[in-house]
Amino acid sequence: MEDKPVTTDKLSTSKDWEPLIVAFFCNWCTYTAADLAGVSRMGYDPNVRVIRVMCSGRVDPQFVLDAFAHGADGVLIGGCHPGDCHYVEGNYKTLRRYLLLKRLLRELGIEEGRVRLEWIAASEGEKVSKTINEMVDQVRALGPLRLTRKFKEWDAELAALEAEAQSEEVEVHA
């Protein structure tokens, strides 16, 4: 299903550009901490969109890649502190995957600062606000990732190359 076209491309000029962060928060610690930040009115930058999962262990590396591929400038993963996982050790699995994922992202040319894993306990509302602000500042400094646009550009480049190759072929045959 496709949305109706967005009338204004808010991100068309770099002046207007604001980083967009997708966050995956575990239900028991970090999501609850974000609720606490809300209840305690600990303000933070509005650039983050939180997606709730039961455990940070549910965060498939594909989610992170998908977020980047669809235009996220940064991805934040929040889980329980080591030893505090509601599901015993899901967060350890997250950590292992995260370390591998970071290497993969480096290979893909995505800066390390665009992805972050943070342990935030249910009582650490302040840490939610601090982490998000830090992340937004960091990603703002890195600038837009704009993979969606790059995909289009790459597609165009490929198409151009193809066209060139075809015309050369025509010449050869001629």
Binding site: L20, A34, Y44, C55, F63, H70, V88, T148
Partner: protein, 666 residues
């Protein structure tokens, strides 16, 4: 399926104002108007209070009249009202799991002030939910049965009250206490504020009631060492430490103590805060429950060297209760719910060397003075300094280890009243001049302010100021041989030096030193200060985020005895209600295997902390036991062939959410 008429997805979006809570920061009308333009949305409404009856009625009418078969509610956190709206949908005939909450209050209006940005964020989140809910499936709730037995951890007044309440309702209770006796801190107090009734007189009958109750199994000198399972069926292993005296044979005659080869008590008596001595074989205090002696393996010659006359054995030869070969043993129990009431420790004032505790012998803590004024205490109720003098002037310093950026930031809540009580008792016992050094007097509670007025009228001196230091450095003859409190009296603006014979530090309450271990053992959370975290600070102050585990007393945060008893009763009521209901409904967020796609690689099997995944050798496929699966989704994320799925958190649902929040960025 009735809710999928024509197989068409018909989404209703409901945006809540939450009074002004959301509407002040988010343009809710604009969000609803935007939602109405999204594919699949047949109706989008905004309303002042969506959770109210008329609000829920809006949703239900649309389900009935407009054939809405997916519901998106943009309001508060799902932890607050997800069940409310699921219930509303269910009553209108829609499977409750077709509802998706969008958190535009805690995660949006309450943390942002830029109206435009907050509104854009709300639109993004609503769009994500609209895309997500498209993939929702009808699900069945899972019910697990509840064992009616309840475990209470900690035998202070909180644990005692909770255990008695549950036991009185006819359920079986296990009360586990790590000390040799129940009673906790309350047993050490002399009087209780503000009524001045004697702590032992009101506590010891409850202790005996615990021992005598047919529904209570009391295990003292025992600790919980492992907890497995979940709400309804927790498997708990309790370690029973050897006390070298058989509980079933000892009658508490105490003759063994008299005949011990140590003629004089030589070891610090923990119950009296080291102000008196005990023997290696001892009973903590006369009303200890159970009234069974215990042998300290660190002090007993037989246990240390194996070379003792063992005169205690001779004294107990008929009963044969003493058993030097006793070993620790383990008990395994199954309980439906657990009440944690592990209490507190008092602040160690050595951390504030300016007050000279441990350096000057006549600097005491409030707990030590409780023992001094107690008639069965180390001095038989005489308030005397360590050198045996009756003090002529006593200073009580408040907020030692409380309300202090350098130590603990919280108010310990009981020290003001404890100090007023001790001021009254010291004056009564000695006639001394008593000074109370305070920052603010906090006497909020039934009869508390009246007690404060009474102590004021008794002529206790109140000096408003934080004491800078206690010193024995005399500047003039009136200070010779005394301790001097240097303090700025902020009411008069003068720095004063007040000579004192005795200084009492009103030490604050702290989480137990091993609270973190307890937290991890039971899988609950701690607040930033280290006290256990409740599910909701106002509306659920005894349940925790772990279903079937409740907290009571000071392990949850500083509180006085009446508040502790109330919370313990509340925790007990929750445990009783759970047991009486007989079942608990779980989220149906379990994982399952799509067999056709499983390659049998076994990657998932070691990932599951609950051993819910097994391998079917015949089929060469993995299998998930739904009863054991807790729904974390770790295996789902790990499956290389994508053949594990998780209900409520399907890949399609999460991908559509990701793409939904990012639609603008494309």
């Amino acid at each position: 399926m009735s809710e999928q008429k024509n197989g068409q997805v018909r989404i209703g979006v409901y945006v809540c104002h939450c009074g002004a809570n959301i509407a002040d920061t988010v343009d809710v009308k604009a969000v609803a108007e935007y939602a109405a333009t999204l594919p699949g949305v047949v109706v989008a409404r905004d309303y002042k209070y969506m959770c109210s009856d008329p609000g829920q009625e809006l949703v239900q009418e649309d389900i009935r009249n407009l054939n809405v078969n997916r519901v998106v509610v943009a309001a508060c956190s799902p932890s607050l009202h997800e069940n409310t709206f699921r219930g509303a949908a269910e009553r209108a005939g829609l499977n409750p799991f077709f509802v998706q909450m969008v958190n535009i209050r805690e995660h949006d209006s309450w943390v942002h002030s830029d109206r435009e940005a907050a509104t854009e964020k709300a639109k993004d989140l609503v769009r994500a939910a609209v895309r997500r809910v498209y993939f929702h499936k009808p699900l069945e709730k899972r019910r697990v049965p509840i064992h009616s037995e309840v475990l209470v951890v900690g035998g202070g007044i909180a644990g005692i009250h909770a255990a008695l309440t549950v036991a009185d309702s006819g359920k079986k209770v296990y009360l586990v206490e790590r000390e040799p006796t129940i009673g906790g801190h309350m047993a050490q107090y002399d009087k209780t504020f503000p009524t001045l009734d004697c702590a032992a007189c009101i506590l010891t009958p409850k202790m005996s009631a615990v021992k005598a109750h047919p529904n209570i199994t009391l295990w003292t000198y025992s600790e919980v060492v492992s907890v497995d399972g979940s709400v309804g069926d927790y498997k708990v292993v309790v370690k029973r430490k050897p006390r070298y005296v058989r509980e079933d044979l000892c009658v508490g005659c105490l003759q063994c103590i008299d005949t011990c080869v140590f003629k004089e008590p030589k070891f610090d008596d923990e119950f009296n805060m080291g102000l008196s001595k005990r023997k290696p074989i001892y009973i903590p205090f006369p009303q200890a429950t159970p009234k069974v002696v215990v042998i300290d393996p660190e002090a007993c010659i037989q246990l240390k060297t194996g070379k003792c006359k063992k005169s205690c054995l001779e004294a107990c030869v008929e009963r044969g209760a003493i058993d030097f070969d006793q070993k620790e043993s383990y008990e395994e129990i199954h309980v439906g719910s657990i009440i944690i009431a592990t209490g507190f420790q008092t602040f160690d004032p050595r951390r504030m060397p300016q007050y000279g505790y441990g350096k000057y012998p006549n600097v005491y803590t409030t707990l030590e003075v409780e023992r001094l004024v107690n008639a069965s205490g180390p001095t038989g109720g005489q308030v005397v300094t360590r050198d045996g003098r009756v003090p002529k002037s006593v200073g009580i310093i408040l907020c030692v280890g409380s309300r202090d950026e350098n130590t603990n930031r919280w108010c310990s809540r009981v020290c003001c009243m404890t100090s007023l009580k001790l001021a009254h008792l010291i004056k009564e016992h000695t006639g001394a001049e008593v000074f109370i050094f305070y920052i603010d007097m906090r006497a909020a509670g039934k009869g508390y302010e009246e007690f404060y007025q009474r102590v004021l009228n008794e002529g206790v001196h109140f000096v408003r100021g934080r004491v800078a230091e206690i010193t024995d450095w005399a500047l003039d003859p009136s200070e010779e041989g005394k301790l001097v409190a240097r303090v700025e009296d902020t009411n008069t603006g003068f720095v004063r030096r007040i000579p004192l014979d005795m200084v009492v530090l009103a030490v604050g309450l702290e989480p137990q030193a091993d609270a973190l271990n307890v937290q991890r053992l039971f899988g609950i959370s701690c607040s930033l200060d280290g006290f256990f975290l409740e599910k909701h600070p106002k509306l659920a102050p005894a349940p925790t985020y772990t279903d079937g585990i409740f907290i009571a007393g000071v392990c949850h945060g500083p509180k006085d005895i009446p508040d502790t008893v109330m919370q313990a009763g509340y925790a007990a009521a929750e445990a009783i209600a759970l047991a009486d209901t007989g079942y608990f409904e779980l989220e149906p967020n379990t994982a399952y295997i799509v067999e056709e796609e499983c390659s049998g690689c076994k990657s998932c099997i070691p990932l599951c902390p609950y051993q819910a995944i097994t391998f079917n050798d015949g089929k060469q496929k993995a299998f998930i036991n739904e009863v054991l699966c807790k729904g974390c989704g770790t295996c789902v994320a790990a499956c290389p062939s994508g053949s594990i799925k998780q209900n409520l958190f399907e890949d399609e649902e999460i991908f559509s959410e990701i793409e939904g929040v990012l639609a603008y960025a494309q």
